[in-house]
């Protein structure tokens, strides 16, 4: 189908922006319980006002959300390193505290299946998920960017990355997966504008005697490098994440998938950093491709 939007005689989907954000469960609880203007939470949510406006103006057709499942849809029975949600709909999971009162997440099976096939032929052997309950890792970023609508404004393609069982994929692998996602999106013959979310992090440790670790210096360097020196950010070894950003801070590898899906040079539209949300340092970026 050729529409007025076609360029060079060919219509294709394209990536129009990248979002990085932490996905702390307590942020979801604060939104659901109407606490966003409390003294504790207000400074955190303030940093997302500009982002909500940005995404509303951008009005994307699809969001690819890179997140991790936290022993929700996947247990130790089955641990896919990368799993792509190809279903029509993704139910909201009960993680032990009851399901979050947010709308179900609608998928985009046409684009999702296209990406799955393209990635596999591009030598990223990912798992296809046709039934996937989504947890706070996916829903909290949606709430932060889209607020509390009766329906989410666009379909979502979940991309689940294992970061619970050690070792997660390397930062470099995640970055290269992002590049392959960019190629896959751009080879889809429909005029769709796609936003990619990288979620999780920043520094935090939830477990054992070192719980509560925060490393703002590491986080801010990571933000700078992710934006301007992605080759440096993607070379960070697992040991450095574990030691410097806390055992759960290794979730940051997922931000590299988002970064890989953008062009080498990006424009930083917005940045926000806040400590704490519960046990976690919250980081947030809005990036756009800096096209020549």
């Amino acid at each position: 189908m050729v529409t007025a939007a076609s360029r060079n005689g060919r219509v294709s989907a394209k990536i129009v922006g990248g979002v990085a954000t932490s996905h702390v469960p307590a942020i979801g609880a604060a939104i659901d319980q109407g606490k966003t203007t409390d003294d504790y939470w207000a400074p955190l949510f303030k940093g997302f006002e500009k982002s909500q406006k940005w995404v509303k103006d951008l009005n994307p057709d699809v969001a690819i959300v890179v997140y991790n499942d936290h022993a929700t849809a996947f247990s130790l029975e089955l641990i896919p390193t990368f799993a792509l949600g190809c279903a029509e709909e993704f139910p909201i999971a009960d993680e032990g505290w009851g399901a979050r009162p947010v709308p179900p997440v609608c998928g985009h099976p046409d684009l999702a299946w296209h990406i799955a096939q393209s990635l596999i032929l591009d030598e990223f052997d990912l798992t296809i998920a046709n039934r996937l309950e989504v947890d706070h890792g996916l829903t909290v970023p949606l709430s932060l960017l889209f607020g509390q609508p009766a329906r989410w404004p666009c379909p979502v393609i979940p991309l689940c990355v294992n970061v619970v069982q050690y070792p997660p994929p390397t930062g470099n692998r995640c970055y290269n997966l992002g590049k392959a996602i960019q190629r896959a999106v751009e080879s889809f013959d429909e005029d769709l504008r796609v936003v990619v979310f990288g979620t999780g992090g920043m520094s935090h440790q939830l477990q054992a005697e070192r719980a509560g670790l925060i490393n703002s210096e590491f986080d801010n360097r990571f933000l700078d490098d992710l934006v301007n020196r992605p080759d440096k950010a993607r070379a960070i070894p697992h040991l450095e994440y574990l030691r410097e950003a806390g055992s759960e801070g290794i979730e940051l590898v997922m931000w590299l998938v988002m970064r890989g899906a953008l062009s080498k040079k990006v424009r930083e539209i917005h940045r926000h950093y806040h400590v704490p949300a519960s046990n976690t340092a919250v980081g947030h970026l809005i990036l756009e491709n800096d096209l020549p």
Partner: protein, 132 residues
């Protein structure tokens, strides 16, 4: 090929590697079962008999029944799993973190509001033995 496990030098931390995951498989799968409300109710009604469905070691059972959160982690538990037991008890991640670090809820919350646990002095086990 030998895989590096330098991460064992990080103090107060259990990296959920292959060894840990194999050790904790049944403990974690018990915790996973608590994701469903009907299982949470059954567990609360009779903890000991509920645990009989899972082939866990006696040490793991005792850690669960005694809510020894750090012992659960030492015995192969993973925090995203043990947090489901915490949720069953009505505890949040932050409540749980306070308990695991031996602080009161208020002390822990205050530490976080003041910027969290600093990285300096918390990188290597050698730094902890020196102080303690």
């Amino acid at each position: 090929m030998t895989l590096s496990n330098d991460y064992q030098d990080i103090p107060g931390t259990y990296v959920f590697d292959a060894k840990h995951s194999r050790l904790g498989y049944h403990l974690n799968m018990f915790c996973m079962s608590l994701r469903h409300a009907e299982n949470r109710d059954a567990f609360k009604a009779n903890e000991i008999s509920y645990l009989e469905q899972f082939t866990m070691s006696q040490e793991q059972r005792d850690a669960v029944l005694g809510r020894q959160w750090n012992d659960m982690l030492r015995l192969g538990g993973n925090i995203y799993y043990t947090s489901k037991l915490a949720a069953t008890d009505g505890l949040t991640f932050q409540d749980l973190a306070a308990i695991m670090t031996g602080s009161s809820r208020e002390q822990y919350r205050k530490m976080m509001v003041n910027g969290g646990r600093p990285i300096d002095g918390n990188r290597s086990k050698s730094e902890w033995t020196r102080e303690r």
